[in-house]
Assembly symmetry: D2
Amino acid sequence: MLILMGLNTPREDIEKVKQKIISKNCTPHEIPGSSKLAIGITGPSNNLNEEDFLLMESVEEVVRITKQYKLVSREMKPEDTIINIGKEKIGGEELTIIAGPCSVESREQLFEVAGQLKEIGINFLRAGAYKPRTSPYSFQGLKEKGLEFLNEVKKELGMIIVTEVKDTQTLPLIFEVADVIQIGARNMQNFSLLEQAGRLSKTILLKRGLAATVEDLLMSAEYILSQGNYNVILCERGIRTFETSTRNTLDLNAIPVIKKNTHLPVIVDPSHGIGMWDKVSPMAMASVACGADGLMIEVHSHPEQALSDGFQSLTPENFKKLLIKLKQLAPVVDKKVKLNV
Amino acid sequence: MLILMGLNTPREDIEKVKQKIISKNCTPHEIPGSSKLAIGITGPSNNLNEEDFLLMESVEEVVRITKQYKLVSREMKPEDTIINIGKEKIGGEELTIIAGPCSVESREQLFEVAGQLKEIGINFLRAGAYKPRTSPYSFQGLKEKGLEFLNEVKKELGMIIVTEVKDTQTLPLIFEVADVIQIGARNMQNFSLLEQAGRLSKTILLKRGLAATVEDLLMSAEYILSQGNYNVILCERGIRTFETSTRNTLDLNAIPVIKKNTHLPVIVDPSHGIGMWDKVSPMAMASVACGADGLMIEVHSHPEQALSDGFQSLTPENFKKLLIKLKQLAPVVDKKVKLNV
Amino acid sequence: MLILMGLNTPREDIEKVKQKIISKNCTPHEIPGSSKLAIGITGPSNNLNEEDFLLMESVEEVVRITKQYKLVSREMKPEDTIINIGKEKIGGEELTIIAGPCSVESREQLFEVAGQLKEIGINFLRAGAYKPRTSPYSFQGLKEKGLEFLNEVKKELGMIIVTEVKDTQTLPLIFEVADVIQIGARNMQNFSLLEQAGRLSKTILLKRGLAATVEDLLMSAEYILSQGNYNVILCERGIRTFETSTRNTLDLNAIPVIKKNTHLPVIVDPSHGIGMWDKVSPMAMASVACGADGLMIEVHSHPEQALSDGFQSLTPENFKKLLIKLKQLAPVVDKKVKLNV
Amino acid sequence: MLILMGLNTPREDIEKVKQKIISKNCTPHEIPGSSKLAIGITGPSNNLNEEDFLLMESVEEVVRITKQYKLVSREMKPEDTIINIGKEKIGGEELTIIAGPCSVESREQLFEVAGQLKEIGINFLRAGAYKPRTSPYSFQGLKEKGLEFLNEVKKELGMIIVTEVKDTQTLPLIFEVADVIQIGARNMQNFSLLEQAGRLSKTILLKRGLAATVEDLLMSAEYILSQGNYNVILCERGIRTFETSTRNTLDLNAIPVIKKNTHLPVIVDPSHGIGMWDKVSPMAMASVACGADGLMIEVHSHPEQALSDGFQSLTPENFKKLLIKLKQLAPVVDKKVKLNV
């Protein structure tokens, strides 16, 4: 941390700042400059807070230098985290492909699409039983019934279930069925939910919030790891900007930035990221091309009948076409796709 | 709702769209144009979903015309909602002024500032017992102990307690102590929390999320009203933009927009809105000047010792200076300030 | 400037950085820390560039501490700049009120509205002869003819003319007629235009760009001052954000930030800032309440016939109502309004 | 266009709207609904303006349906535009790769990097002679001298020169040397410059502005085409958002959106798009994977000595590594790369 003071600061104010630093078991370093006096601080920076200094006499600015996240950082753990679920590995050279409808709508709907996905080798099935919706009047998911159907699919088809948790109350129910528990964009800073998820022995898929910086996302992951759960997958799904021609602005820059700063795996959800089915495939390709460890894609057997997100869902047929392209792309970026396409 | 199709759309596709409209108990109106064929829809629009049509053959665009919120809209209830708490009225001609520290830090700290506020006639005391923080390593509030102190202040000084709820688990505890339950920016789309708050007989203060449009904010309020609780105060507290010289971008445009579209009262939190104590007062003045029904301001007896948000907190002395100015400003915009300043 | 290197940086890399600093006539200060090695730099920081160091071996980050603007900064000139035009003073205790139509549309239209404004004591008339428009098919202004009409108004009514320059070619023509030359939001970083404007002996009104930070705006003003023209008025007119219910997001936070960092006067254009005539007045009030030195407001005698921006223009009647309110507000914030209202 | 009026609108107001529509040679269609009365309009929509109706009595909203751009739209010209420069084709199946330093810094620097690029088969050389810089104190380019060096390279190495024009004054000079004239992000809405560029018989490379929507970009291209110059290449180079970990937010969503809406070729500049050299290559790969027609990449023989943008420049060596990957990627997305790598 660096404290900046004016050049003509009275000696007394400088000494007060230095004493405060010492009282926090750190060491001050006075650096006189041409336009500012800087006081560098060394020592255990966790003891320090910008706000400890901001309000002191003559202090003009406080510059934080060290990142606030620790457990998620690559400095702490240089090698990639690889998460094992059944025979699948997330974060390694194999591309993780999660697919399925936005919501569980009925037993039939779920089994139809799951069967189609299974057939082409997809092992990760996504589908929501509890749906966070902007309007209280929109379809909110089948809830317990939805979980039940997911459980049936899991048993009958042996698929890995990825499903969203909306709140802490229903977390225990979801824990029973899900193999990967998704925390959605709107809950990325629901810290109580993050803490509880951090105490579970289950993989968490954490989506980036609409107004969250990459650092915010990593801090939210830090909440989960700090409770003991190291199995966290990050997910870029678009941020909110001024652009209105797409549902969100998919921030693919975030992929190399995240890969550099953390050892956790990161996937992309191009379905929410662009929001129009006919443009999902190019964005899926781009995601893999810039280094994502996987994809989460909305696939619906009959998008035109979907109760939510139909417009951004691929048909199994179009999804298969994408997979064929992904299989060609993967080796170019040192990845593999093991699928019957 | 309006469905747009290309000029050369086959008759068959047009008929399918019209049949779908009829199947939803609505009426289609064909409007042939020079560059598009439009089909207007009349009837109970709640039956309809953009997505019902977006994926149909030859449909190019679907334009929604009616707003999605109902109970919160001024069309539903033209006159202003006035919320009564004790002798105080929120939403009428009297400016509501809520003040207090970011967090309850100790019994002494709370009583000191509450006493100072009470002395100048402030009746609404804000202070958080449960604090949502970006970092798991930051001070998270005194929790139950904090609520206890708030309850003591409430009994001893007769102040109206405004405090934040972080999750559904602690909602019952907070319900016992709070007179106004605050739902923070990060929880604005925590729909489970909104629904539970909607079932309580207690005033809810709903803050706008960092990436929430005014319409999103109104939809979140709709969640609360739709469960039966009509006592909702909205709060503008800054949105996230590219500007980095301030903590957030206070969107005061939202005030006249909100006042036009809803009957609910709206207040402004300039402390979070700008994030620097020396610029809080001008933004408080601006908020009242453009029509806010009140203010929520962070005040701390010793900002330099605050455990959170000290840099954006006013001292009681500076707060009093602001109140003197507000008292002069209020009558210019047809408001009143009843305070001993 | 501060250079951050990893803790285990080889001595050789550290020495190279220090030598580079010395070669720029500055002095390096090594500050060993617990997680990073920092090298503070003192001396003439103008010699330095972040990029000089960013690519050196082992350098992890470069933190710039000093602001890049000089002539516009309050550190350079602590007292407010007051610009004199005729008998008017901009930047002092008197509120500057500029009003008029978006565009000059005809001789009659201009004289009608100018007469109405003059009658209530407005001396600054705004109206565009050259209009930058998003679409090449929209009305682009009357051009030379428009300037001619402005010149007539100037002579007959003695008003101070504020009009926009669109490019360097027409700058000499505009120089002949305008008393204040406006550089619009889209031209805020048209550096050639800024430089030419900097060589004129005429007041420049510089509007903030849609994606410009406050620092960008000050850097653009610095371009003008650095060429010798110190008569610059800054103008906040709304930035572009995700909010779609208003034309732009008026960033009033910018007002106290600008007032703190520069000695130049700053005014607000609430007409563009919100974009809806019925909400212009509250935003004008808010602008003055948070410390703006003046306002620029679109007024049209017949907004429904306006060739541009009619929807955000006030009628002279509604404008007068606003002025009455402003006159009451001004003394509360230590300003004056000298008008016959 | 669709005019929305309240259900209880007096007959008189409805008739006025209908008469206005008829006066514009269009036809009104009354559609009574359950919550609004809509009036659809058919006929030559160019005659119409939202503002013609917005201020009429009882009108609540005006919805524009037709896009404002014409010449650039795919509806006007369904097949891709392919631009021929020498033997190169831009917009077809061959990937266009433009490379070179940010600025011309000296004759030696330019010839060194140009030679290295030429050797690996790059034919498009980018380098700026006139540099728009945020600060007046930063390096502004070698200007005429820079153009001279570019001209020498052009003659000696036979490369295609891509260089930026900063203003209308220097446009004739640049026209002499450049094969492709670049209009930068900050000039995207410098309409005078667009118009003049539209009158030239030279290819224009138009970069997207920092706060420009895709539609704004297309409208700016429309300015150029409307003057007769159909040889326009669009360029995505990052927009400004709240994210601070990267220089800009590269909006790759824009690529499929642009490809769908216009016939013009579109390339990506990942160097500015992310702003850190070590992350340029993944973003270049992503750009091609989602359908870009080409790339513009900053390459400098000695980035650590660059006078501008060194931190985002690739060395020729790293650039070559990227090209090898691009050559593998291209056929997966039905493109070709003809290079000696």
